[in-house]
């Protein structure tokens, strides 16, 4: 029996795992010198969602997306909204479905979904499961979507992105010390992941949760948007999302609507074309507007599409090209 220590090279934490222990993600276990993915084919959440919930506003709007998640995460955010799932190991979860990749693809087809989302917790830690499922999905014409924090090493990230059609990456803070303090990660690998995603022409949208007193400083928001503009382009949609007190950050209030609007104005002022406000249902900034003539293109009410004026990827009124992946372009 081998009792060798193994180094997991999937994410920047590079966990040095002795026999009988797990990585920081809780789900990758060293058994006799091999890393075992204990949650491969054992999701704890399976759900059909509207794609707007991911959020993805420029990727086949109005379509359904089959969403899966397992236990575990390589970050430990104090404000995690899925902590019952992400901050537990597979063994600690009460619900574990037996769903190998072929069953996920089959269920996606059966439910009429256009794509599969690897989401809720952190798909990077169930990497092999995502990889095998995505490969099968492509054969059936199903799209693959990652909703991730992007805390991954470049080599596995590039390999996985070859199978992925769209990503929503959560850029939590534009500040290394805040990442370390509140999420137990760090900034640089995430910025690298964003750039790689763009380089590989995978459709990318970014979520930035605005947490009162932590990352609601407009100077820093402007700095982040300038970085996005320069490195990812003005066409990359940004979702500025409202924080609700939960998990270990129950002491902070929900983000005031006014702060979200100010942050959106900063982002638009920098030159980003598509800036949305999330978790503030009913606000006009849920909708998509043409960056050229300002007309309403996709009217959203929460996750419902009430109106769509994008035809073949262009504004119906002025014919401006709208960045994204659209139904009638295929």
């Amino acid at each position: 029996m081998s009792t060798k220590t193994v180094i997991c090279e999937l994410c920047p934490k590079a966990c040095r795992i002795p026999h009988g222990a797990a990585g920081d993600c809780r789900v990758r276990v060293n058994i006799e010198g091999k890393i075992v993915s204990t949650i491969y084919g054992r999701p704890s959440a399976l759900h059909v969602d509207p794609i707007e919930k991911k959020p993805l506003n420029h990727f086949f709007p109005g379509s359904g997306i089959f969403s899966i998640a397992t236990a575990g995460c390589n970050l430990h955010c104090k404000n995690c909204q899925n902590w019952q799932l992400s901050q537990r190991s597979g063994a600690e979860m009460e619900v574990r479905y037996k769903a190998p990749p072929e069953k996920i693809v089959e269920a996606t087809e059966r439910t009429g979904c256009k794509s599969i989302a690897y989401t809720y917790s952190e798909p990077i830690i169930f990497y092999e499961y995502v990889y095998d499922t995505a490969k099968l999905a492509i054969k059936k014409g199903i799209k693959n979507v990652l909703v991730t924090a992007g805390f991954v090493n470049p080599s596995p990230w590039r390999k996985l992105l070859k199978l992925i059609d769209a990503c929503n990456i959560d850029l939590k803070y534009f500040d290394d010390s805040l990442y370390r303090k509140n999420s137990e990660g760090w900034l640089k690998p995430i910025l690298d992941s964003l750039v790689i995603c763009k380089e590989m022409d995978v459709w990318l949208e970014i979520t930035h949760l605005l947490i009162p007193t932590l990352n609601d400083d407009m100077v820093k928001i402007r700095k982040m948007c300038k970085w996005m503009y320069k490195n990812l382009g003005a066409d990359t949609p940004l979702h500025i999302s409202r924080f609700h007190p939960q998990y270990k950050l129950r002491n902070l209030p929900a983000t005031p609507g006014e702060t979200l609007i100010r942050a959106r104005n900063e982002a638009m002022d920098v030159g980003l074309k598509y800036v949305y406000i999330g978790n503030l249902h009913g606000h006009p900034a849920e909708s998509t507007f043409c960056p050229k003539d300002g007309k309403l293109l996709i009217k959203r009410l929460g996750y419902v599409i009430a109106e769509n004026n994008i035809i073949k990827g262009r504004c119906k009124f002025c014919k401006e090209k709208i960045a994204g992946r659209w139904h009638d372009e295929i």
Binding site: K4, C15, A21, V36, Y40, R42, A91, E184
Partner: protein, 70 residues
């Protein structure tokens, strides 16, 4: 021995260089090791039992790992 202004300038630039090197190294150290290399203790007997029962997977994650020399 008498110090000249030229010597003070040399000493000053030497101290500044050393100071900058220290800042650079400490910044690198901050980024690198203290959050890497960790692991979590688990109830290994339970995990093995669940794998045997098929409730957890025993699939090897062969893509990105390296056996430590230690």
């Amino acid at each position: 021995m008498k110090f000249k202004f030229r010597d003070l300038k040399f000493l000053g630039s030497l101290l500044i260089t050393i100071y900058l090197i220290i800042i650079f190294i400490s910044a690198e150290l901050q980024i690198q090791p203290e959050q890497t290399g960790g692991y979590r203790k688990i109830d290994f007997a339970l995990v093995q039992k669940l794998i045997e029962k098929g409730e957890l997977s025993g699939k090897e994650a062969s893509f990105y790992k390296r056996v430590s020399e230690q």
